[in-house]
Symmetry: C2
Subunit: 152 residues, 2 copies
DNA sequence: AGTCACGTAACTTATTTTGTTTCGAGAAAT
DNA sequence: ATTTCTCGAAACAAAATAAGTTACGTGACT
Protein backbone atom coordinates (compact mmCIF):
# COMPACT_ATOMS: atom_id res chain seq x y z
CA UNK A 1 0.00 0.00 0.00
CA UNK A 2 1.35 3.35 -1.06
CA UNK A 3 1.89 6.00 1.57
CA UNK A 4 0.25 9.38 1.68
CA UNK A 5 2.92 12.04 1.43
CA UNK A 6 0.79 15.14 1.77
CA UNK A 7 1.90 15.78 5.34
CA UNK A 8 5.55 15.56 4.38
CA UNK A 9 5.07 17.74 1.33
CA UNK A 10 3.15 20.43 3.17
CA UNK A 11 5.75 20.58 5.93
CA UNK A 12 8.38 21.02 3.26
CA UNK A 13 6.44 23.81 1.59
CA UNK A 14 5.62 25.61 4.84
CA UNK A 15 9.22 25.72 5.95
CA UNK A 16 10.19 27.05 2.54
CA UNK A 17 7.55 29.72 2.97
CA UNK A 18 9.02 30.63 6.33
CA UNK A 19 12.31 31.43 4.64
CA UNK A 20 10.82 33.14 1.62
CA UNK A 21 10.38 36.89 1.33
CA UNK A 22 7.18 37.21 -0.69
CA UNK A 23 4.31 34.93 -1.60
CA UNK A 24 4.82 31.56 -3.23
CA UNK A 25 2.53 30.73 -6.13
CA UNK A 26 0.88 27.35 -6.61
CA UNK A 27 2.69 27.06 -9.93
CA UNK A 28 6.04 27.60 -8.28
CA UNK A 29 5.32 25.09 -5.51
CA UNK A 30 3.98 22.52 -7.96
CA UNK A 31 7.16 22.86 -10.00
CA UNK A 32 9.24 22.33 -6.87
CA UNK A 33 7.40 19.16 -5.96
CA UNK A 34 7.03 17.89 -9.49
CA UNK A 35 3.25 18.03 -9.48
CA UNK A 36 0.30 20.14 -10.54
CA UNK A 37 -0.78 23.56 -9.21
CA UNK A 38 -4.35 22.37 -8.72
CA UNK A 39 -3.14 19.57 -6.49
CA UNK A 40 -1.27 22.17 -4.44
CA UNK A 41 -4.35 24.38 -4.10
CA UNK A 42 -6.35 21.36 -3.08
CA UNK A 43 -4.00 20.45 -0.28
CA UNK A 44 -3.24 23.99 0.81
CA UNK A 45 -6.97 24.64 1.12
CA UNK A 46 -6.96 22.56 4.31
CA UNK A 47 -4.23 24.74 5.77
CA UNK A 48 -6.05 27.90 4.80
CA UNK A 49 -9.25 26.74 6.50
CA UNK A 50 -7.32 26.30 9.75
CA UNK A 51 -5.81 29.75 9.40
CA UNK A 52 -2.23 28.56 8.99
CA UNK A 53 -1.69 30.09 5.57
CA UNK A 54 -3.16 32.92 3.58
CA UNK A 55 -3.80 33.05 -0.14
CA UNK A 56 -4.00 36.11 -2.34
CA UNK A 57 -5.19 36.44 -5.89
CA UNK A 58 -3.76 38.53 -8.68
CA UNK A 59 -0.38 40.00 -9.43
CA UNK A 60 2.15 39.27 -6.71
CA UNK A 61 -0.33 36.94 -5.09
CA UNK A 62 0.15 33.38 -3.91
CA UNK A 63 0.61 31.70 -0.56
CA UNK A 64 2.03 33.16 2.63
CA UNK A 65 2.25 31.95 6.20
CA UNK A 66 -0.46 33.29 8.47
CA UNK A 67 1.43 32.15 11.58
CA UNK A 68 5.11 31.87 12.43
CA UNK A 69 6.64 28.40 12.19
CA UNK A 70 7.08 28.44 15.97
CA UNK A 71 3.31 28.34 16.40
CA UNK A 72 2.72 25.36 14.10
CA UNK A 73 3.22 21.74 15.09
CA UNK A 74 3.29 18.49 13.17
CA UNK A 75 -0.05 17.71 14.75
CA UNK A 76 -1.60 20.89 13.35
CA UNK A 77 -0.49 20.10 9.83
CA UNK A 78 -1.35 16.44 10.12
CA UNK A 79 -4.90 17.40 11.04
CA UNK A 80 -5.13 20.15 8.45
CA UNK A 81 -4.34 17.84 5.55
CA UNK A 82 -7.10 15.61 6.88
CA UNK A 83 -5.55 12.17 7.19
CA UNK A 84 -8.35 9.74 7.88
CA UNK A 85 -6.07 7.26 9.64
CA UNK A 86 -2.38 7.07 10.44
CA UNK A 87 -2.45 3.32 9.89
CA UNK A 88 -2.46 1.35 6.70
CA UNK A 89 -3.78 -1.71 8.49
CA UNK A 90 -6.91 -2.04 10.51
CA UNK A 91 -9.78 -4.26 11.58
CA UNK A 92 -12.27 -6.00 9.31
CA UNK A 93 -15.98 -6.17 9.90
CA UNK A 94 -16.98 -9.31 8.07
CA UNK A 95 -19.10 -11.00 10.76
CA UNK A 96 -20.19 -8.36 13.26
CA UNK A 97 -21.93 -10.93 15.43
CA UNK A 98 -18.97 -13.30 15.69
CA UNK A 99 -17.32 -13.10 19.12
CA UNK A 100 -13.99 -14.12 17.60
CA UNK A 101 -14.02 -11.19 15.25
CA UNK A 102 -15.00 -8.94 18.13
CA UNK A 103 -12.12 -10.20 20.25
CA UNK A 104 -9.68 -9.77 17.39
CA UNK A 105 -10.86 -6.25 16.68
CA UNK A 106 -10.89 -5.17 20.29
CA UNK A 107 -7.32 -6.36 20.62
CA UNK A 108 -6.15 -4.66 17.44
CA UNK A 109 -7.98 -1.46 18.17
CA UNK A 110 -6.40 -1.28 21.60
CA UNK A 111 -2.89 -1.68 20.28
CA UNK A 112 -3.40 0.74 17.43
CA UNK A 113 -4.99 3.30 19.70
CA UNK A 114 -1.93 3.19 21.95
CA UNK A 115 0.43 3.64 19.05
CA UNK A 116 -1.64 6.48 17.65
CA UNK A 117 -1.70 8.24 21.00
CA UNK A 118 2.08 8.09 21.15
CA UNK A 119 2.40 9.31 17.60
CA UNK A 120 0.08 12.28 17.99
CA UNK A 121 1.69 13.20 21.28
CA UNK A 122 5.05 13.27 19.55
CA UNK A 123 3.55 15.27 16.67
CA UNK A 124 2.26 17.80 19.14
CA UNK A 125 5.73 18.32 20.59
CA UNK A 126 7.45 19.17 17.33
CA UNK A 127 7.11 22.68 15.93
CA UNK A 128 7.94 23.44 12.33
CA UNK A 129 10.55 25.85 13.62
CA UNK A 130 12.24 22.94 15.37
CA UNK A 131 12.42 21.07 12.08
CA UNK A 132 13.77 24.13 10.32
CA UNK A 133 16.48 24.33 12.96
CA UNK A 134 17.80 20.91 12.07
CA UNK A 135 20.04 22.32 9.36
CA UNK A 136 22.34 25.33 9.13
CA UNK A 137 20.65 28.27 7.44
CA UNK A 138 23.58 29.07 5.13
CA UNK A 139 23.49 25.84 3.20
CA UNK A 140 20.11 26.81 1.77
CA UNK A 141 19.90 26.80 -1.99
CA UNK A 142 18.14 29.49 -3.95
CA UNK A 143 16.96 31.50 -0.97
CA UNK A 144 18.25 34.29 1.23
CA UNK A 145 19.62 33.41 4.64
CA UNK A 146 17.39 34.63 7.53
CA UNK A 147 19.40 37.79 8.18
CA UNK A 148 18.88 38.90 4.56
CA UNK A 149 15.57 40.31 5.76
CA UNK A 150 17.55 43.27 7.11
CA UNK A 151 18.04 44.66 3.64
CA UNK A 152 14.45 44.15 2.42
CA UNK B 1 -6.91 5.65 2.26
CA UNK B 2 -8.53 2.29 2.76
CA UNK B 3 -7.11 0.03 5.42
CA UNK B 4 -5.66 -3.38 4.84
CA UNK B 5 -7.71 -5.92 6.76
CA UNK B 6 -5.77 -9.06 5.94
CA UNK B 7 -4.15 -9.20 9.37
CA UNK B 8 -7.50 -8.93 11.09
CA UNK B 9 -9.10 -11.49 8.79
CA UNK B 10 -6.33 -14.02 9.17
CA UNK B 11 -6.41 -13.72 12.95
CA UNK B 12 -10.11 -14.35 12.80
CA UNK B 13 -9.66 -17.41 10.60
CA UNK B 14 -6.80 -18.84 12.65
CA UNK B 15 -8.72 -18.68 15.89
CA UNK B 16 -11.65 -20.37 14.20
CA UNK B 17 -9.28 -23.08 13.06
CA UNK B 18 -8.07 -23.52 16.60
CA UNK B 19 -11.62 -24.36 17.66
CA UNK B 20 -12.47 -26.48 14.66
CA UNK B 21 -12.15 -30.26 14.55
CA UNK B 22 -11.10 -30.97 10.97
CA UNK B 23 -9.71 -28.93 8.13
CA UNK B 24 -11.35 -25.73 6.88
CA UNK B 25 -11.64 -25.36 3.13
CA UNK B 26 -10.89 -22.14 1.28
CA UNK B 27 -14.45 -22.14 0.03
CA UNK B 28 -15.81 -22.34 3.54
CA UNK B 29 -13.53 -19.57 4.80
CA UNK B 30 -14.30 -17.38 1.81
CA UNK B 31 -18.00 -17.81 2.47
CA UNK B 32 -17.46 -16.82 6.11
CA UNK B 33 -15.63 -13.64 5.16
CA UNK B 34 -17.78 -12.81 2.17
CA UNK B 35 -14.97 -13.11 -0.32
CA UNK B 36 -13.43 -15.45 -2.84
CA UNK B 37 -11.60 -18.75 -2.17
CA UNK B 38 -8.67 -17.68 -4.37
CA UNK B 39 -8.19 -14.60 -2.22
CA UNK B 40 -8.08 -16.84 0.83
CA UNK B 41 -5.45 -19.14 -0.74
CA UNK B 42 -3.43 -16.10 -1.69
CA UNK B 43 -3.34 -14.76 1.83
CA UNK B 44 -3.00 -18.13 3.56
CA UNK B 45 0.01 -18.89 1.36
CA UNK B 46 2.04 -16.46 3.47
CA UNK B 47 1.10 -18.31 6.63
CA UNK B 48 1.93 -21.65 5.07
CA UNK B 49 5.39 -20.46 4.04
CA UNK B 50 6.11 -19.55 7.65
CA UNK B 51 4.91 -22.97 8.83
CA UNK B 52 1.94 -21.66 10.77
CA UNK B 53 -0.69 -23.55 8.80
CA UNK B 54 -0.79 -26.66 6.68
CA UNK B 55 -2.82 -27.27 3.52
CA UNK B 56 -4.01 -30.57 2.16
CA UNK B 57 -5.51 -31.38 -1.21
CA UNK B 58 -8.38 -33.67 -2.05
CA UNK B 59 -11.32 -35.02 -0.17
CA UNK B 60 -11.40 -33.89 3.45
CA UNK B 61 -8.55 -31.54 2.71
CA UNK B 62 -8.26 -27.84 3.47
CA UNK B 63 -6.42 -25.78 6.04
CA UNK B 64 -5.28 -26.79 9.51
CA UNK B 65 -3.11 -25.14 12.15
CA UNK B 66 0.50 -26.33 12.13
CA UNK B 67 1.11 -24.75 15.55
CA UNK B 68 -1.05 -24.20 18.60
CA UNK B 69 -2.49 -20.71 19.06
CA UNK B 70 -0.29 -20.30 22.12
CA UNK B 71 2.77 -20.30 19.88
CA UNK B 72 1.53 -17.64 17.47
CA UNK B 73 1.66 -13.90 18.10
CA UNK B 74 0.17 -10.91 16.36
CA UNK B 75 3.67 -10.10 15.21
CA UNK B 76 4.03 -13.49 13.51
CA UNK B 77 0.82 -13.08 11.57
CA UNK B 78 1.49 -9.44 10.76
CA UNK B 79 4.78 -10.45 9.19
CA UNK B 80 3.33 -13.50 7.47
CA UNK B 81 0.72 -11.50 5.60
CA UNK B 82 3.55 -9.26 4.48
CA UNK B 83 2.46 -5.75 5.35
CA UNK B 84 4.87 -3.36 3.72
CA UNK B 85 4.23 -0.58 6.23
CA UNK B 86 2.00 -0.12 9.25
CA UNK B 87 1.53 3.52 8.36
CA UNK B 88 -0.71 5.10 5.77
CA UNK B 89 1.35 8.27 5.83
CA UNK B 90 5.03 8.69 5.17
CA UNK B 91 7.77 10.88 3.77
CA UNK B 92 7.99 12.24 0.24
CA UNK B 93 11.13 12.29 -1.84
CA UNK B 94 10.53 15.15 -4.22
CA UNK B 95 13.82 17.03 -3.88
CA UNK B 96 16.43 14.65 -2.46
CA UNK B 97 19.05 17.39 -2.34
CA UNK B 98 16.93 19.89 -0.44
CA UNK B 99 18.01 20.18 3.19
CA UNK B 100 14.48 21.17 4.21
CA UNK B 101 13.06 17.98 2.79
CA UNK B 102 15.80 16.06 4.53
CA UNK B 103 15.06 17.70 7.86
CA UNK B 104 11.33 17.03 7.46
CA UNK B 105 11.89 13.42 6.56
CA UNK B 106 14.38 12.75 9.32
CA UNK B 107 11.89 14.14 11.80
CA UNK B 108 8.97 12.14 10.45
CA UNK B 109 10.98 8.96 10.13
CA UNK B 110 12.10 9.27 13.73
CA UNK B 111 8.60 9.67 15.08
CA UNK B 112 7.17 6.91 12.91
CA UNK B 113 9.98 4.56 13.80
CA UNK B 114 9.24 5.07 17.51
CA UNK B 115 5.55 4.41 17.02
CA UNK B 116 6.27 1.33 14.92
CA UNK B 117 8.64 -0.03 17.54
CA UNK B 118 5.95 0.32 20.17
CA UNK B 119 3.37 -1.29 17.94
CA UNK B 120 5.49 -4.30 17.02
CA UNK B 121 6.55 -4.76 20.61
CA UNK B 122 2.91 -4.89 21.61
CA UNK B 123 2.17 -7.28 18.73
CA UNK B 124 4.91 -9.55 19.98
CA UNK B 125 3.36 -9.75 23.40
CA UNK B 126 -0.09 -10.89 22.28
CA UNK B 127 -0.61 -14.56 21.43
CA UNK B 128 -3.60 -15.72 19.44
CA UNK B 129 -4.55 -17.84 22.41
CA UNK B 130 -4.76 -14.67 24.48
CA UNK B 131 -7.19 -13.19 21.97
CA UNK B 132 -9.22 -16.39 21.95
CA UNK B 133 -9.45 -16.17 25.75
CA UNK B 134 -11.19 -12.82 25.56
CA UNK B 135 -14.58 -14.46 25.25
CA UNK B 136 -16.28 -17.41 26.98
CA UNK B 137 -15.99 -20.59 24.92
CA UNK B 138 -19.65 -21.57 25.27
CA UNK B 139 -21.06 -18.56 23.46
CA UNK B 140 -19.47 -19.83 20.25
CA UNK B 141 -21.87 -20.29 17.37
CA UNK B 142 -21.79 -23.28 15.06
CA UNK B 143 -18.80 -24.99 16.68
CA UNK B 144 -18.18 -27.49 19.44
CA UNK B 145 -16.90 -26.21 22.76
CA UNK B 146 -13.27 -27.17 23.51
CA UNK B 147 -14.17 -30.21 25.67
CA UNK B 148 -16.15 -31.68 22.77
CA UNK B 149 -12.84 -33.13 21.60
CA UNK B 150 -13.33 -35.88 24.21
CA UNK B 151 -15.95 -37.60 22.12
CA UNK B 152 -14.03 -37.39 18.85
C1' DA C 1 -7.87 46.03 -20.88
C1' DG C 2 -4.68 42.60 -20.01
C1' DT C 3 -2.22 39.60 -17.10
C1' DC C 4 -1.62 37.03 -13.00
C1' DA C 5 -3.15 34.00 -9.54
C1' DC C 6 -6.38 31.49 -6.73
C1' DG C 7 -11.23 28.68 -6.37
C1' DT C 8 -13.79 25.15 -7.97
C1' DA C 9 -15.93 21.64 -10.59
C1' DA C 10 -15.61 18.03 -13.80
C1' DC C 11 -13.02 14.84 -16.05
C1' DT C 12 -9.07 11.59 -17.11
C1' DT C 13 -5.31 8.77 -15.92
C1' DA C 14 -2.58 5.81 -13.03
C1' DT C 15 -2.04 2.65 -9.49
C1' DT C 16 -3.35 -0.73 -6.33
C1' DT C 17 -6.22 -4.09 -4.45
C1' DT C 18 -9.65 -7.34 -4.87
C1' DG C 19 -12.26 -10.54 -7.23
C1' DT C 20 -12.83 -13.97 -11.10
C1' DT C 21 -11.88 -17.43 -14.43
C1' DT C 22 -9.35 -21.22 -15.82
C1' DC C 23 -6.39 -24.91 -15.81
C1' DG C 24 -3.41 -28.33 -13.52
C1' DA C 25 -2.38 -31.85 -9.97
C1' DG C 26 -2.91 -34.64 -5.87
C1' DA C 27 -5.98 -37.32 -2.77
C1' DA C 28 -10.01 -39.62 -1.38
C1' DA C 29 -14.51 -41.79 -2.45
C1' DT C 30 -17.28 -44.59 -5.49
C1' DA D 1 -10.73 -46.38 -13.19
C1' DT D 2 -13.43 -42.51 -12.85
C1' DT D 3 -15.46 -38.99 -10.43
C1' DT D 4 -15.30 -35.56 -6.93
C1' DC D 5 -13.01 -32.61 -3.88
C1' DT D 6 -9.37 -29.47 -2.87
C1' DC D 7 -5.32 -26.61 -3.25
C1' DG D 8 -1.70 -24.07 -6.56
C1' DA D 9 -0.95 -20.81 -9.77
C1' DA D 10 -1.38 -17.84 -13.67
C1' DA D 11 -3.89 -14.64 -16.19
C1' DC D 12 -7.44 -11.57 -16.55
C1' DA D 13 -11.31 -8.28 -15.05
C1' DA D 14 -13.35 -5.12 -11.98
C1' DA D 15 -13.45 -1.77 -8.39
C1' DA D 16 -11.69 1.73 -5.55
C1' DT D 17 -8.80 5.50 -4.71
C1' DA D 18 -5.57 9.04 -5.34
C1' DA D 19 -3.32 12.00 -8.45
C1' DG D 20 -3.21 14.65 -12.33
C1' DT D 21 -5.53 17.60 -15.94
C1' DT D 22 -8.62 20.77 -18.17
C1' DA D 23 -11.62 24.54 -18.09
C1' DC D 24 -13.79 28.44 -16.51
C1' DG D 25 -14.89 31.86 -12.95
C1' DT D 26 -13.34 35.72 -9.84
C1' DG D 27 -10.53 39.17 -7.78
C1' DA D 28 -6.30 42.08 -7.96
C1' DC D 29 -2.58 44.37 -9.73
C1' DT D 30 -0.27 46.87 -13.82
Amino acid sequence: MRQDSRLSRMLHVLIHMGRHEGALTSDRIAEMLGTNPVVIRRTMAGLREKGYVHSEKGHGGGWTLAKPLEDLTLLDIYRAVGEPSVFAVGPAYDMPDCPIEQAVNETLEGVFADAERLLLKRFEGVSLAAIADRFPADIMIGHHPPNAKDHG
